[in-house]
Amino acid sequence: MSQLDQNLHTPMVELLLSLADDKLFLGHRNSDWTGIAPILEADIAFSSLAQDDIAHASAFYELIGTVNDKNSDQIAFGRTCNEYRCADIVTKSDNFNWANAIARQLYCNTFDYHRLARLSKSSWSPLSALSKRILAEQTIHVDHISTWIQHLGNGNSDSKARLQEALDTFAPYAVMLFEEPEGLQELHDASILQNDSDFYTDWKSTIDVILNSAGVTCTCEPTNTKGGRSGKHDEDFVRSLAELQEVFSTDPLAAW
């Protein structure tokens, strides 16, 4: 089905914003490592993933634009803080600590993988088609981050300890990725998306397999707290948003 019912526009935009905002800000934070990562080759590789995420976000902002008739840059750059729908894990400061960067990547990349796999089955064809395309690239991210988890977990006792600490620090933020966008139920009810109770457990299984082979763990519990998907953001997000909008906001209507 290629036409989306008018009264599903709002919940669809909420859903797409949660995905696009997650990817935009994950790419935004990770792109900041370009030039200053621990190993030149790792720097180059990590930057590729950041670019992918920003490019993926772009593609979803464009899709949103076909629904609400807005320009991608205006959507990406032009909202107020409480209008963004990303989970705050994507902007939580990594304090220039590679273990934090890798732990966050693991949680987010695997979440995006499972989310895109589900959206690939949407009955709204523009969404399923785009999600399928992006999913093919998302696989690269999951493989890449697995390699890093192996190497840090199985490196030496120091790297294992640092990785474990990072996994523990970011775990409570990771479960917030599962906060549902507003109106999701309407999309389920209209059969745009399959109702799906296994999303969290599928993600946790994927994480556990990867972490197991590296001798580290993730301890977390799903939660009903309201956060980023409801527009409630923390200081780190506010700071990231200020960076993102710093030049844009000097003239939001100008061409750059």
Binding site: G27, H28, S31, D32, T34, G35, I36, A37, P38, I39, L40, E41, A42, D43, I44, S47, S48, A50, Q51, I54, A55, A57, S58, Y61, S72, D73, A76, F77, F96, N97, W98, H151, L152, N154, G155, N156, D158, S159, R162, S240, E243, L244, E246, V247, F248, T250, D251, A254, A255, W256
Partner: protein
């Protein structure tokens, strides 16, 4: 981004070489011949090529820092992507050049440690600040533009691994430059505020761009090892003139004014007056121009520029923060390689 190589070796360093081998080498190189890693080369050639590759590599990874500052502030999705890719390319260029230098006899680790402790140098222009978005646009147009003129000639040099690396670098440089043009042309057809920001950034970057090619040629430039052994294939002044001939009329066509500027210790422009020498000589086809302030150039290169300390501090911090990672992945290599 490139180095304008003014690293020197004393010609006398060849005195210990077999005269026959040396003569054959020099004839081979003078006739356009190429040198590959297993070929015989005088020690002075090896060490000069190493220093040149090292300086170039250092410049790439230091150059990544000022531009890297603006990645998170890029004002559109396209600019975010393009600037990230550009800085990523520069890290890649550094990586490839360190590999060339390492194969000439100095480990990457030793080179990184010499860089962050101030023993070895990098391109002077990166010691200047980038206070606005327009600075990023001007760097991509002018500095990458200067690098292109320089690197186009380096790709015709004599050392195989270096020139192969230059070909890949130049392909990416072509993207950096086109994107830089796009950004500058966008600003100069934008709002008054954007045009003003662009002019102020241009005032900051015109002089470092013409200084990019290095100090004025010495009278015996063509006989000096870098030219004689075809590591450089064009002189500093030739390239500088070429740059002005290309960019002066282009800048003026966009509405930019080419000023002679004075700067304070922080790199801020304190006065700007149109360059009185900027005229086209119809006979030679060359544009006259005011030379860069060479006294300032040398003052900055010696460590007293606005950003020297910041650049080294960030490079060093990055290196030190990353030590545990390098150690971990090395320690973890106890299982035999799959392939």
């Amino acid at each position: 981004m490139s180095a304008s190589a003014n690293v020197e070796v004393k010609v006398g360093d060849c005195s210990n070489e077999d005269p026959q081998k040396l003569a054959a080498f020099e004839e081979h190189v003078a006739n356009g011949g190429l040198i590959e890693p297993n070929d015989w080369m005088p020690e002075a050639y090896r060490s000069l090529m190493l220093r040149m590759a090292e300086h170039h590599a250092n410049s790439e990874i230091v150059g990544a820092l000022p531009e890297g500052e603006w990645i998170v502030k890029a004002p559109s999705l396209l600019r975010k992507l393009a600037l990230t890719a550009k800085v990523q390319d520069e890290v890649g260029h550094g990586q490839m050049l360190y590999e060339v230098a390492q194969d000439l006899g100095k480990s990457r680790n030793a080179m990184l440690r010499d860089l962050i402790t101030g023993v070895t140098k990098y391109h002077n222009c990166f010691n200047y600040p980038c206070p606005t978005w327009a600075d990023i646009c001007m760097i991509a147009w002018l500095i990458d533009g200067a690098a292109i003129l320089n690197q186009g000639t380096l790709a015709h040099g004599s050392f195989g691994p270096y020139i192969r690396t230059m070909r890949r670098i130049n392909m990416e440089e072509a993207f950096h430059f086109k994107h830089g043009e796009d950004m500058v042309l966008t600003l100069m057809s934008g709002t008054d505020s954007q045009k003003q920001m662009a002019q102020e950034a241009f005032d900051r970057w015109w002089e470092p761009s013409i200084a990019f090619f290095g100090p004025n040629d010495r009278p015996d430039e063509l006989e000096r090892p870098a030219m004689r052994w075809r590591m450089k294939t064009a002189t500093n002044d030739d390239l500088r003139q070429k740059f002005v001939n290309r960019f002066a009329p282009a800048a003026m066509a966009t509405g930019l004014v080419i000023n002679v500027c004075t700067k304070d210790d922080q790199g801020n422009v304190t006065s700007a007056t149109p360059d009185p020498l900027l005229k086209l000589d119809e006979e030679t086809g060359h544009w006259g121009f005011t030379q860069p302030n060479w006294e300032e150039f040398f003052r900055v290169i010696r460590g007293n520029g606005p950003c020297n300390k910041d650049r080294l501090a960030l490079r060093r911090f990055s290196y030190e923060q990353g030590e545990w990672v390098r150690k971990a992945i090395l320690d973890g290599t106890t299982t035999p390689c799959k392939n």
